[in-house]
């Protein structure tokens, strides 16, 4: 998984010869190298989990046993969920594109604590290694679902404790990154880079980092308590010993709802970068978009109870949490409207990053609107724990964060490799993915409305046709993803050269050579204009 150096463009930070070989990567404190390390590790885990997702779909292709037994299926969706959430999408943006781009965008040479940054990658890898170890040792892969609900996860004989410990370590890494980013954004902005001139991607990372440091510790204690429950028999959530299983759910979701905003906020930041560049027009409503990132982070921390509407939580709490859930939808709506207004009277070029961004808006809207169905108390009762929820979150996570991740790959990787991918295959890949995606997950939304529960290995015959359709969608999606990967990585190895500013962007990363030099800026830059002021940036 070691990033391969582009052979002919060995320049910029690639040719920094402090150490040699792999040590020059895994012990580097350069934010760009750490960013690429993160990118490849995160993407590797993504591919693993994607393969698991495909297996899940194959099993669900027809009722009854298709390729595996129930235990294997239960372990599979657990591992799929855990890897996707904790090893791909939560560390994904911050670790890879946050590290690669954010310091340059604010005009800094590096993050505030470069060594902590490296530590955070190491912690991430250590946690990942522990999680992977848990799959093959002890009682086998955990079979609890990614939510680890007690008391079941306290009783199952599978290797829950080790997996949970791995997640704990990954969480620590997340905290370290969060601390690092907030400090960096406060302390290392270049002269003239006022808060009002901060690129929106940086704003979104800032909001995300706050969620990370305030919510992740709660996950930490929750995981500690699972382990204590299993190893010491503390019984804090065990009804027989006076515990209350619902308190576990509170603690878990106090982290895990805000965590979904850790996943989506940077994605929204990416979209806010790409749309103005490809419409060649300043972003509409800069202040509102920046403010809504903070608003989502703040309000989003207070809605966790909407995962517990059927749990037996008090009706008063359902009233409060349902209300707050609807409040978070408002800043998201503000963003969507502003993105669309940015297109108005622009000059729009439909290249791959832009296509992924526009489809982000569509898919995220579907995901968000189905979120509203779940936020309303009456309707959530019907769809809770059904395939509807699975559809909802794949729309927001994969259609939202995932598509934004692909957009970011096409948008920023050429900057760091100095080479471009071929446009045509990228567009074909996008078209396949977009089609396959909707077939795959829209079927789940309908299945959920019909009542098919989630985490079901087997199902009634009446659900069979749509499950088959869904599985076929997953193959179309998979084909698209393969094309995307092959095209992107062939391009980065040997494609046409990318100039220093292939898209005509106005943020600072486009003002320095491609690939960026180790120090980023020869002299500390002085910023004199906003991030989306395209006057003066030439046509690419």
């Amino acid at each position: 998984m070691e990033p391969t150096e582009p052979t002919t463009t060995a320049a910029g930070f690639w040719s920094d010869t402090g150490r040699s070989g792999i040590a020059s990567w895994i012990f580097s404190t350069d934010h760009k190298r750490i960013g690429l390390l993160y990118f490849y590790s995160v993407f590797g885990f993504f591919l693993v989990a994607v393969a698991l997702g495909l297996l899940l779909r194959i099993e669900l292709m027809a009722p009854g046993r298709t390729i595996m037994g129930p235990q294997a299926y239960n372990a599979l969706f657990t591992v799929h969920g855990v890897v996707m959430v904790f090893l791909f999408i939560i560390p994904g943006f911050q670790g890879s594109f946050g590290n690669l781009v954010m310091p340059i965008q604010i005009g800094a040479r590096d993050v505030a604590f470069p060594r902590l940054n490296l530590l955070s990658w190491w912690l991430y890898m250590a946690g990942a290694a522990i999680i992977l170890t848990s799959l093959f040792t002890g009682g086998g892969p955990p079979d609890t679902g990614w939510t680890f609900y007690l008391p079941f996860s306290g009783r199952t004989g599978t290797n829950v404790s080790l997996a949970v410990f791995g997640v704990f370590v990954v969480g620590f890494s997340s905290i370290v990154t969060g601390v690092n980013f907030i400090t960096t954004i406060h302390r290392l902005r270049a002269e003239g880079m006022t808060w009002g001139r901060l690129p929106l991607f940086v704003w979104s990372l800032y909001a995300t980092a706050w969620v990370q440091i305030l919510a992740t510790p709660i996950l930490g204690i929750t995981l500690v308590l699972i382990i204590a429950e299993r190893l010491l028999g503390t019984g804090l959530f065990e009804p027989g010993q006076g515990g209350d299983p619902l308190m576990y759910q509170h603690l878990f979701w106090i982290y895990s709802h805000p965590a979904v905003y850790i996943m989506i906020l940077p994605a929204m930041g990416v979209i806010s970068e790409i749309i103005p560049v490809f419409a060649r027009k300043p972003i509409f409503g800069y202040r509102m978009i920046a403010f809504s990132s903070i608003a989502i982070a703040a309000a989003g921390s207070l809605v966790w109870g909407h995962h517990m509407f059927t749990s037996g939580m008090s009706d008063m709490a359902i009233l409060v949490f349902s209300f707050l859930t609807f409040i978070v939808a408002i800043p998201s709506a503000i963003k969507v409207f502003n993105w669309i207004s940015t297109l108005y009277r622009g000059s729009i070029s439909l290249e791959a990053p832009m296509l992924f961004s526009l489809s982000f808006i569509f898919l995220f809207s579907i995901g968000g609107l189905t979120g509203l169905v779940q936020g309303a108390a009456a309707t959530d009762i019907h769809v809770h724990d059904t395939q509807f929820v699975v559809g909802h979150f794949h729309y927001v996570i994969f259609g939202g964060s995932g598509f934004a991740f692909f957009a970011a790959m096409h948008y920023w990787l050429p900057k760091f490799y100095g080479r471009r991918y071929a446009e045509k295959p990228a567009i074909i890949a996008w078209a396949l993915m977009f089609t396959g995606f909707n077939i795959l997950y829209f079927s789940m939304i309908v299945l959920g409305l019909e009542g098919m529960p989630r985490r079901y290995y087997d199902y009634l015959p009446e659900f069979a046709p749509l499950n088959l359709v869904s599985t076929i969608g997953s193959w179309i999606l998979a084909t698209g993803l393969m094309i995307l990967l092959v095209n992107l990585f062939m391009g980065l190895r040997s494609g046409a050269r990318a100039g220093s500013n292939p898209w005509g962007g106005a943020t600072l990363e486009w003002s320095i050579p491609t690939p960026p030099p180790t120090e980023n800026f020869a002299d500390e830059p002085v910023v004199t204009h906003g991030p989306y002021d395209f006057r003066g940036t030439g046509v690419p």
Binding site: D244, G285, S349
Partner: protein, 305 residues
């Protein structure tokens, strides 16, 4: 039946229609505008942007206030519908649903238990939810109801069937190996038929009907994991099990035992001691079954051929 009777379905469905309606309008509007802009202002047609507008206070106000109104409406209807789900009609018939890994059992006021949920048409039913082990979920999509079954906690749901018919009851909260097979039938039958059923003792053709042994198996959820017809569930089938030699794993060593009274007792008291080869050690111990009861179970098992 009272024509303007509120059922759970009629409380929830209008909320769905409202939220979906608004959502579809919004989604179509947003998508159409987006696609329209992309076509109208594509670079080949509009080589240079014709505006540098970067904001408009009035527009921002509009799309802060508008969504606020929309979501508050959704919130209100959602909450109002939910209240119906929580307000149990006074005359409701009470049933207790007991969930365990991985079966349901329903107990009626007269003490009758049944693996199927029989209900009278037109009469509200209040179901008390009891879990013997971990979290389960009581979910009947046809009636739009769902409630988690939490050990050590009193939860309930109510619903009413408008017409006769049979529906599925799913376990909605993940509970391990047999989660997806924790499905039971809900049979809504005319009130007369229901009353007759309630008084009758069951007879569905399998031998040993009405024996206490069979009742014990149903009441304790054994049949959730052990079939009577030879099919494989979470545990080995009871069909022809008596007197058969089984390979079990004791500690790390394998040995062969014969299924008899002593082995049955050990299986129930310390299920983890001897684990049948090829099965996971998931059977819970049953310290509450008395020796007499175990004997009755044994008597019944002899009959299951």
């Amino acid at each position: 039946m009272d024509p303007n009777f509120i059922t759970t379905t009629s409380a929830v469905d209008p909320v769905f229609i409202f939220i979906f309606g608004v959502s579809i309008v919004l989604l179509l509007g947003i998508t159409a505008t987006m696609v329209g802009f992309v076509i109208r202002y594509r670079r080949s047609r509009a080589p240079e942007p014709t505006s540098r507008a970067d904001g408009n206070v009035w527009l921002e106000i509009v799309w802060t206030v508008l969504p606020t109104i929309i979501v508050l409406a959704m919130f209100y209807y959602g909450w109002a519908g939910y209240l119906t789900l929580r307000n149990v009609p006074k005359n409701a018939m009470e049933v207790t649903a007991t969930a365990r890994m991985w079966s349901w059992s329903f107990t009626y006021a007269n003490g009758k238990t049944s693996p199927k949920l029989y209900i009278p048409v037109g009469k509200p039913v209040l179901v008390h939810l009891v879990s013997m082990d971990v979290l389960h979920g009581f979910s009947i999509p046809a009636f739009r109801i769902k409630r988690d079954v939490v050990p050590g906690m009193k939860n309930h749901v109510w619903f009413v069937a408008e017409r006769p018919g049979s529906h599925e009851l799913f376990c909605s909260v993940y509970c391990g190996l047999g989660h997806s097979s924790m499905v039971a039938a809900v049979e809504a039958v005319p009130e007369k038929e229901f009353d007759a059923w309630l008084e009758r003792r069951e007879d569905d053709g399998v031998k040993g009907e009405g024996s206490r042994g069979r009742e014990l198996l149903e009441k304790n959820g054994c049949v959730g994991c052990h079939s009577l017809d030879g099919s494989r569930k979470a545990g080995p089938s009871f069909k022809g099990v008596w007197g058969r030699a089984v390979t079990v794993v004791t500690g790390d060593a394998e040995r062969s035992v014969t299924m008899d009274g002593a082995y049955l007792k050990r299986s129930l008291r310390e299920p983890a001691a001897d684990v049948v080869k090829g099965y996971p050690p998931v059977m819970p111990p049953y310290p509450n079954l008395s020796d007499d009861e175990i004997e009755e179970i044994g008597e019944f098992l002899k009959e299951v051929r």
